[in-house]
Each structure stands twice: as C-alpha cells, then as structure tokens.
C-alpha cells in the first residue's frame, strides 16, 4: 500500500505539537510561567495556518463552496482589523473572546447536523482550544487589572434559526477569522523584523567607535 505524503504529514503534526507545547504555558508538564512575545507570535502563526485549513474544510463540508458565498468582505465588527495601535496585542483579547464564543455557537449548530465525533466537530473543538490558549497567553503577557479579566459574553441565541443561515454565518465568521489571523501574523512578523533590524543597527552603532 502506498503511503505518499504520510511522513511529511506526521512530521508536520509533530512539529505543530511541539510548537504548541512551547507556545502555550503550562503545556507539556512545565510549570506555569509568563509567556514571551515570541511564544505568542509562534502561536498566532500556527493558528493562522490552522484557521485557513478549518475554513477550507468547513466550506467544502457544508456545501458552501459556491459563488464565494462565505468569502465576505464585510466581517463582523469584532473581526475587523487587526490594528496593533497603542494597545498592541492587548486589543486582541476582545477579538479572541468573541471568537471563542462564535466557535462555540458554530459547534452547537453543527451538532444538529453531524453525528458525534464528526471531523468538523473535532476541528472546531481544536480551533476553540487554540483560541482559549491564545487568550491565556495574552492574559499572562498583559495581566488585566480587574478581577475578571475576560468579559464573559452571553451565550449566543439558542432559538432555532434557518439552518442554512447558521451555516453561512459560521462559514463567513471562519473566513473572516482566517483573514484576521493572516493579517495579524504578517503584522507581528513585520514588527519582529523591524525590531530585529533596530537592534542590529543599535548594536552596530555601539560597536562603531570601538572599531574606529
């Protein structure tokens, strides 16, 4: 039996696992400690890839890959951006809180459509865990002053709506989410490179008098 691509797939999964172990504090039996910015960046990079895969799978699995129905240019308010302004990554917490809630709602809808243990449910649960992981990292990185750092959103509407509408909304949220993470990752990467260049320049500047 041919197993083309099996080894790269396994290697990729192992790499991702190791990355998560490193990126999410407290994973892998390590003691809880404050995450570093690099860890957050790594996790965002991984989540961006994961969100793209989730969207692609969802769009096809739900029969929505027609006429770019899901690929909306009007994302929900809380998924617009990202902007790393004066608040930096702090502003990400609100987005991720909304996203965690949205993923729970999508999962609930999908439970009406799929048997327990279906692939889409597994992927949604995995994405939800990563969002919770990023939220934890952000809490560790920027401890909130208030005793309730993350504002719990009220659960989504449970009244049954049209199944198609729910599917489409879920799909559009996942599309916007994947776009959001791609942009965020690009921003963080640009920032990291700029900081790296500045450090190099500063380092070279401090060495110049010595060499002359």
């Amino acid at each position: 039996m041919r197993r083309d691509g099996w080894l790269p797939g396994v290697l990729g999964a192992v790499t991702k696992g190791l990355l998560i172990l490193w990126a999410v504090p407290g994973q892998g039996g390590r003691s809880l400690q404050h995450p570093t910015l690099q860890q957050v960046q790594a996790l965002v990079r991984h989540m961006a890839e994961d969100a793209q895969e989730l969207f692609t799978f969802y769009e096809k699995d739900q029969g929505l890959a027609i006429g770019h129905l899901c690929r909306t240019n009007r994302p929900p308010e809380w998924l617009r951006g990202p902007s790393l302004g004066t608040r930096g990554l702090r502003g990400l917490r609100g987005t991720m809180t909304h996203m965690a809630q949205a993923l729970q709602d999508i999962t609930r809808h999908q439970r009406d459509l799929n048997p327990p243990g279906a692939e889409i449910l597994r992927r949604l649960a995995s994405a939800h865990l990563k969002v919770r992981g990023l939220l934890n990292n952000l809490e560790g990185l920027y401890p909130a002053p208030s005793p309730h750092p993350t504002r719990r959103l009220p659960p989504g509407p449970t009244a049954p709506t049209k199944v198609f509408r729910q599917k489409l909304e879920g799909c559009q949220i996942l599309w916007s989410y994947s776009r959001f993470l791609v942009k965020l990752n690009t921003l963080l990467e640009t920032r990291r490179l700029r900081a790296h260049r500045q450090r190099q320049r500063a380092h070279q500047g401090s060495r110049m008098p010595m060499s002359s």
């Binding site: 029969g63 129905l69 459509l113 198609f164 599917k167």
Partner: protein, 932 residues
C-alpha cells in the same frame, strides 16, 4: 284510434318521467358555499363547504366529489369522493388535503359537487375557489420552498423556487449533486428528487439563482434526510432492591438525524401517580432508573420519537418478578484439610435468594455448588471432598429463589487454600549401586510419583536402611525437602532400605527397596549384551523379553550421560508391559543413551537387559585418517586408522564410503555408484559396510590420470558433507611400452637381418632353381626311374599353374595359339579380377554373382580342352593400369584360380575354402612338368 292511443302512451310516459325527475331533482342539494385556506406549516389545504339546511334537517347521507387544481400547471392533481351523513347541527363540512408540493409554489383551486344517496343525480360543480401561491406576489429575490424540511429516506421531495417579478430562474440545483428532475418556467423553478437517500451529508443544500449576478439574486435552502427511529430493542426493566426500577434498551439503527433532531426516548408508567422524569438521548446502551416506592406492578411504555416518526415498546411486570440482586460481597471462609465453608454478605431486600458458588479447581475444572440464602443478609456454602493443602478459587452469585429473573453479578473471587494432611501414597524410589571399597555405594533417588500426594509442604525425607539377614539396628538419616537423592555405603550383605516423606502433619508410608547380597554393583560383571535401539520422533522406543516372575519393571538411564551427576532417571512399568517409549525433554540428537531394564519382585530388582541408542543419530564428526595409499597404474589402495565406534560418536558407525573421481571429468568407474556433489560434479562411490574395515582398493583406474578421493565414515545419521579431497596421480602403464617395443623393434630387427642376409635367405627360401627333391611337386610315389621320380601326366590334376613369362618359356612353345601377349592379357584379365574383388571390398561394392565357370590356363598345355571366357567384370582402367606391371614383373609367380563355384569370391575367401582345388607353385614353370 290507434294514433290517439299512441299519443296517450307518450304523454303518460312523459308525465311519469317528468314526475320522477322532478321528484329526484327535489333530492339534489348543491353546495351552497366553499371556503378554502392553506396551512403552510402542515402544508395542507383546508376546505370548508356546506349544503342546504334541508339536507341537514333530513340527515341525509351524501357523497361529495372534491377536485384540487394546480393553476400554474393547469392540472387537476387530486380528486376525492367523500361520503358524509349530515346531522341536524347544521355545521359546515370540512376536508383537509395534504399537499406533497409546497403550497407556496403556485395557486391551488378547489371545487365540490354533491349527491344525496337517495338520488343518483350529482349537483352542479361549485365555482373554483383559489388560494394564491407566492408566484403571484411581488417578492424581492428568489425564494425556495420548502426549507429545512426533514425527509424520510426513500421518499420523494419537491422544491420550487419563485423568482422576483420580471426575473427568470437561471439555476436551481442541489449540493451535493444528486439526481433530480428539474423544470424551470419563467420565474418558477421546480425540482423533484425521487427516492431520496442519505448521501453521507447530513444536510442537503438547494441553491436557486435568478438571472442577475448580485448577492440577493441567490436563495438557499436545505433539507435533512433521515429515518424514523427503530423500535427500541431488548427493552426490559428490573430492580435490585424492589424500590428502584431500572429499564434498559438498545436504540436501534442510525436515524441520520442528530442534535435536536435525534431520537428522544420518553418513559411513562401507566400505574404510577407520578410521571417518570426520564428523557434520554443515547447512542448505544440506554437506561433509565426511577423510584417506584411501594408500587408492585408497573406498566412501562418507552416511546422514541424523532421528526420522522414515533415507536413504542412496553413492559408490564410485577416488581418481585424482576429481582436482579446486587452481587454478594465481603466473602470469608473457614476450612479444614478437605472442606471449605464459604460465607458472604447480601443486601437484604426481603426476598428469599438462591445462590451459586463456582469453585475453580487447580486442574482447571469448575464445580458449581448451590445454596439457599433465605431472607438473611448473608449466605454460606460448604464445599466438601477437597484436596488437602490445595488452592481453590470461589465466587458467588445469587438470584431470587422464587420467580427467578436473573443472576446477580459475580462476587469478587476468593482464593482459599485447604489445610495440610499427612502425605498419602508412597514415594517412587530407585537406586544406583556401584562397588566400593569393602562394600557398595548405593545412591538412592526418590520422586513424588502419581500415587503420592504431599498434602502439605514436605519438610524432610527420612532414609532408613538395615540388614535383611539379622536384626541389627537400622541406620537412618533425615534429608532436607530440597533433596531428591542421597548416597549411602553398605557392605555386601542384603539390605532393606526405606524412604518416607514428612510434612507438618505426619510421615508418608515408607517406600522399600531391597539390595541383594553381592559385592559388586548392579551393572558391572553382567554378561548381558548391549542391544542397539532406535530413536523415534517421540523418544526412544524399545522392548524387552517379559518374565512372569516379576511384578514390575524399572528402566533407568541418564539424561546427560556425559555429566556427573548425569541427571539419573527411572520409570516404572507394570508386569504386563514389555516395551516402552522413553521420552525426555533432555534428549538431544547425537548423544548415546544407555538404558537398563530391571525386573522387580518383592522390592528386589534384577538387571535383565541393556539397551543403547540415540534419540537421533548424527553424522560422524570427522573423517577417517587415510594413513597410506598404494598406487598402481590402474588401482589405488587406501589404508586408514582404526575409527572409534564408542559413545563418543554421534551415531552408530555403519561403515565407510570411498569417493573418487578424475580431476577433470565425471567418474564412471566399473562397480561404483554415482554420487553427485552440490556443484553437479559426479563422483564414484564405493560402500564398505563393515565398520571394522581399514582398507579398500579402487580398481579400473586410468593410468597417468589425476584423481581426487576421500574416505568418509557414516552412521545411521548419514555422513558429513565432502569438503576435502586427497589427490593422486596414477603412473604410466609400462606394459604398453613393452608391448610397443616388442611389436616394433623385433620385427624391425628381423627385417634388417633379412635385408642384410637377403642373398642367403633367397637361396635358402626361394632358390632360383629349387632342388627337385625339396619340391613338393615330386613328393609322390607313383613312378621311379632310378633315383628320379616320374609323374604321369594323367595323374596330375593341377589346380593352379604359375606361368613363367620369360622369353625362354615363349621359346618353348613357338606354335602356341596363345601368344605371350594374349597370355598376359588373360593374366591381366584374371589378375584384374583379383584387383576388382579387392576393389569390391574397398568400395563395399557387391557384384552380381556370375554363375559362369571360368577356368583360366595360361599354360597352353591345358588350354586345348578348357573353355576360356572373357571376364565380363573387367574394368578397362584397371586393365590399362595393370599392363605396365606385367611388363616389369618378368619373373613373378602368377596365381590362377579355378573358380568353380563363385566367380566373385575374393582370393582370401578362396584360400579359406578347403573344398576348392588350389595349387600354388612356387615355380610354375616346374609345375608344368618340364622334366616330364
């Protein structure tokens, strides 16, 4: 008159008809009004109508024909006849029509007509009453109907898409793609899926697109395909304590409907005052428990429902008949050496219980013991007939003694060991006797045979020995439980030896051996011959001669003969046994095992036979060492050292094989067998079946040839592969040289001498003028003149004449009609006949025999009365070739045959023929009788 009558008949008939019709018409009650509405949730048309009040008053039985008409397709889609008996209440009539097609999709019209049962006349149709579809509305963007419908697998479903006013439906399809009938007509699209099946996707999407490209030009809908729930399987209820009832069931097959559409199970009890608060959504094994308090009879209904259907299962039962007790717990025991009393606790539920105890014995057998626990909160059972100091495993389960329903779960298994008892049976003992200084060393062995039961932990073995002849004080030693042998020294007297095992309770019965009087061991000095025995796949089998005086036989041997101690073994056989298959895991191929067969009577054993054999014979470990090789030009004799045949060999030596072959070619010597090596070269193989043989001669070799050879010993296990050869060169055969010498040199020498003494030889052997007296011609006694013999010509019967062709001869016969030339020709002719015959031989040509008789005489003296024939076989060339020879052969004898029988005979044949006349004259001229 007739015309008047006819007119009267017609009038009467018309009057009758008119009266009848008017009577019937008075029973027609047309529909007074029709009202129609649609229930979009249920997809039903609700029709209401009425007939005249008088019909109600008369409580008429009426029939109504109702037609449903779809406006857009201009088809009557339904016709139904309805029989109704009116009542006096005067309420309007209702009829509901379930539409398979979404009522939103198009307008539907209904009309009705009536007929009283007492009349055969239908009323007029009512006017069409119409409910409009959405296809007449001015909606924005396309709309699909129905949406979110749940469809049973195997059924049909129809969709419509109503486009905006002025638009047309461009695309109307399903995702995933499944076969469907698609029809589009302007702003209305119709899609029908027949026999819809579950396609692995829980939710099938329907897309509709108008002829524009904006987002609102799309509409989407979806539907679920599923199955109604199966009736729950194995639904049953039981109780462990008569207060709480638990019902269990299996849900059945997948309905393909999940989440809020998945099957919901509801339990209800008809006899209960309180509802059962139990709504279960389960996937595999379902159960529900609730408190029934004092209720004794239950009538439980399990209902399972999903959007496609509902199924029920029922269970009516008396609670006391559904007792499923809790498993017994806290087991403990009391035991003796042969009995165990096992106790356990039970949950007291006020019902008599019956319990079963399962006992697992050490041999793997399972015994079940029944016991009654009554109404007590504990139970017990006594297990008897057990083995002392033996481990048993026991577990218990219980069920209701009356109205048994089900066994409880098993309790935890309890492992119990019975107490010790004195050892039973006797040890199996044996001995090995070896001569010692002033007595004998006796090694005693013992083991726990099949008849022996230790019944506890053996703590020691007691060995006692005493002289048989006198009542001397016995000697005794005690040995640890780990021992299974000991050695004692006894003198040459007869001794009685006993061995007992001891455990914590007591001694076993003694096992007794009597060592008879004698200074020697039991093996040495015996005149018994060792018999060879053969191994089998299962062991070493042999037999012995049975003797009736013995009550048993014992065979002993060593498992590892090469070691000391040699792992001494013995085995006992009954008096009726005369063969044994000795098997042991310690037996290995290539080891010679020695067996001694003893007969035993009254505890005294006598050596009867000796056997020796291999479990499996192996080839010898090494080849015989060839010490000497004697070589002649055609034979080689090999001498090898004496080869060991003792137990060091891995098999019984059967003999030797000698292999030989020329170095450059395969061997095929006379008297040998062929043996093919793995490289396909062929050797000659000679077998020597005597292991004592130490020499062998291989004959028929070629001289001056290089040979390779090897001597291999072989056993019953065969021989080792041929690895190394010895090489020999046979010498040159001198006899051939001598023969050559003899055949060449001696004749050459003789010829040389002859050449050297040619004159003398010529004189001696072939004188020019032979001495008459030496000629055989004159060896007759007919006539003597003086000292000379005279031959009468009449007595001479010449057979062959030689002609001297010298000129002198010609001179003697000047008038001869046969000139010398003609004679020579004839001679040539005859001579050519010889040549011809010779050529026949050489060419393998068989001439046709010629019956002619031709006798040739070159001598004219005889030619007068002899017919002369020409030779028809003369070959001109041959004749030509022969002429010069004649001219030079001036004085050479010529041979003339008288062929009387076969003219084609060769000269050699003629010479060999005794019957033919032949005269060969050395001097034919003399033979002509010149002196006569």
């Amino acid at each position: 008159m007739m015309n008047h009558f006819m007119v009267l008949v017609v009038l009467l008939s018309l009057m009758t008809c008119s009266t009848t019709y008017s009577e019937q018409e008075s029973f027609v009650f047309p529909v007074t009004y029709v009202n129609i509405s649609k229930d979009l949730v249920l997809q039903q048309l609700v029709v209401e109508w009425d007939v005249g009040k008088s019909a109600h008053e008369a409580e008429l039985a009426m029939s109504f024909e109702i037609q449903v008409y779809q406006t857009d397709v201009a088809t009557t889609v339904w016709t139904e006849f309805l029989n109704v008996t009116l009542d006096k209440s005067g309420k309007p009539l209702h009829w509901v029509w379930d539409s398979d097609f979404p009522l939103e999709c198009m307008s539907h019209s209904v009309r009705i007509r009536s007929r009283a049962e007492i009349s055969n006349i239908w009323s007029q149709w009512s006017l069409w009453k119409t409910v409009l579809g959405l296809d007449t509305s001015n909606n924005h963007g396309p709309q699909i109907f129905p949406n979110e419908k749940i469809v049973e697998e195997g059924s049909d479903i129809s969709f419509c898409c109503i486009g905006s006013e002025g638009q047309i439906v461009k695309d109307f399809f399903l995702v995933p793609t499944i076969p469907a009938f698609n029809h589009t007509n302007g702003r209305l699209g119709l899609l029908t899926v027949k026999n819809v099946t579950h396609h692995g996707s829980p939710h099938i999407m329907v897309y509709c697109q108008e002829s524009c490209n904006e987002t609102q030009c799309y509409d989407h809908a979806g539907f679920f395909v599923g199955k109604p729930p199966d009736t729950p399987h194995d639904f049953s209820c039981q109780t462990q304590d008569t207060r709480t009832v638990t019902c269990t069931w299996s849900p059945g097959g997948d309905t393909y409907l999940y989440g809020r559409h998945s099957p919901k199970y509801v339990l209800s009890d008809e006899f209960s005052q309180n509802p059962i608060l139990c709504t279960v959504s389960c996937s595999e094994q379902c159960s529900c428990s609730w408190d029934i308090e004092q209720q004794k009879i239950c009538n439980i209904t399990l209902t399972v429902e999903n959007p496609l259907g509902k199924k029920t299962a029922m269970d009516v039962f008396d609670v006391t008949h559904r007792i499923y007790p809790t498993a017994p717990f806290q087991l403990w025991e009391e035991c003796t050496d042969t009995e165990i009393t096992l106790y356990w606790k039970l949950q007291n539920i006020g019902i008599e219980l019956f319990c079963q105890t399962e006992v697992l014995q050490p041999n793997g057998k399972v015994e079940v013991h029944n016991s009654s626990a009554g109404h007590l909160s504990y139970g017990s059972v006594t297990l008897r007939g057990l083995q002392p100091y033996t481990e048993y495993k026991a577990r218990v389960h219980c069920g209701a003694a009356q109205d048994f329903w089900r066994w409880s779960e098993w309790s935890e298994a309890q492992t119990i060991r019975t107490k010790e008892a004195a050892p039973s049976g006797t040890l199996d003992i044996w001995r090995e006797i070896k001569p010692g200084l002033g007595g004998r060393n006796v090694t005693l062995f013992w083991k726990q045979g099949p008849k022996f039961q230790a019944n506890g932990k053996i703590i020691s073995y007691e060995v006692t020995w005493t002289k048989v002849e006198d009542a001397s004080e016995p000697e005794s030693i005690s040995l640890s439980s780990v021992c299974n042998s000991t050695r004692i020294f006894i003198d040459s007297h007869s001794y009685r030896i006993s061995i007992m095992a001891k455990n914590n309770v007591n001694y076993s019965l003694p096992s007794v051996l009597i060592i008879p009087t004698g200074p020697e061991g039991d093996h040495s000095g015996s005149e018994l011959e060792e018999e060879r025995v053969n191994g089998t796949d299962d062991g070493i089998f042999f037999s012995w001669e049975p003797r009736h005086i013995y009550d048993s036989y014992i065979i002993d041997w060593c498992n590892v003969p090469a070691l000391q101690p040699c792992d001494f073994q013995w085995k006992r056989f009954g008096a009726n046994t005369s063969s044994a298959l000795i098997s042991s895991a310690a037996f290995v191929p290539g080891v010679r095992y020695n067996f001694h067969v003893y007969g035993s009577v009254a505890n005294t054993a006598t050596l009867l036979e000796k056997k020796t054999g291999y479990f499996k014979e192996l080839p010898p470990l090494f080849d015989p060492v060839v010490e000497n090789i004697e070589l002649t030009f055609n034979a080689v004799t090999l001498y090898w050292d004496s080869y060991p045949t003792n137990e060091s060999q891995p098999g019984f030596l059967r003999g030797y094989h000698v292999y030989i072959s020329p170095l450059q070619e395969d061997c095929s010597l006379k008297g040998s067998k062929k043996h093919v090596l793995p490289d396909n070269s062929v050797l000659c193989k000679y077998s020597i079946d005597n292991p004592e043989e130490k020499r062998y001669t291989v004959k028929h070799l070629l001289s001056n040839t290089k040979y390779r050879l090897v001597v291999k010993a072989y056993t019953g296990g065969g021989e080792n592969p041929i690895v190394n050869f010895r090489y020999i060169d046979t010498p040159f055969n001198l006899n051939i040289l001598y023969l050559l010498l003899l055949l060449v040199i001696v004749p050459a020498l003789a010829a040389a001498i002859c050449l050297w003494k040619i004159k003398w030889v010529q004189e001696c052997c072939c004188p020019v003028i032979p001495h008459p007296n030496k000629s055989r011609v004159l060896s007759f006694k007919e006539f003597n003149i003086g000292s000379e013999k005279v031959l009468k010509i009449s007595d001479c019967i010449p057979d062959m004449l030689a002609v001297d062709s010298k000129a002198e001869a010609q001179k003697l016969h000047p008038q001869s009609p046969l000139s010398s030339t003609s004679t020579a020709e004839k001679t040539d002719g005859h001579s050519s006949s010889w040549i011809y015959a010779k050529e026949n031989e050489e060419r393998d040509f068989t001439p046709t025999p010629t019956p002619q008789t031709h006798t040739w005489f070159a001598n004219f003296a005889y030619s007068s009365h002899l017919a002369v024939d020409s030779d028809s076989y003369q070959i001109p060339e041959t004749l030509e070739a022969s002429k010069p020879k004649l001219s030079v052969a001036l004085y050479q004898p010529h041979y003339y045959d008288i062929f009387n029988e076969d003219a084609a005979s060769t000269p050699r044949e003629t010479c060999g023929r005794k019957a033919s006349l032949k005269y060969i004259s050395q001097t034919p001229v003399h033979c002509l009788g010149r002196r006569l």
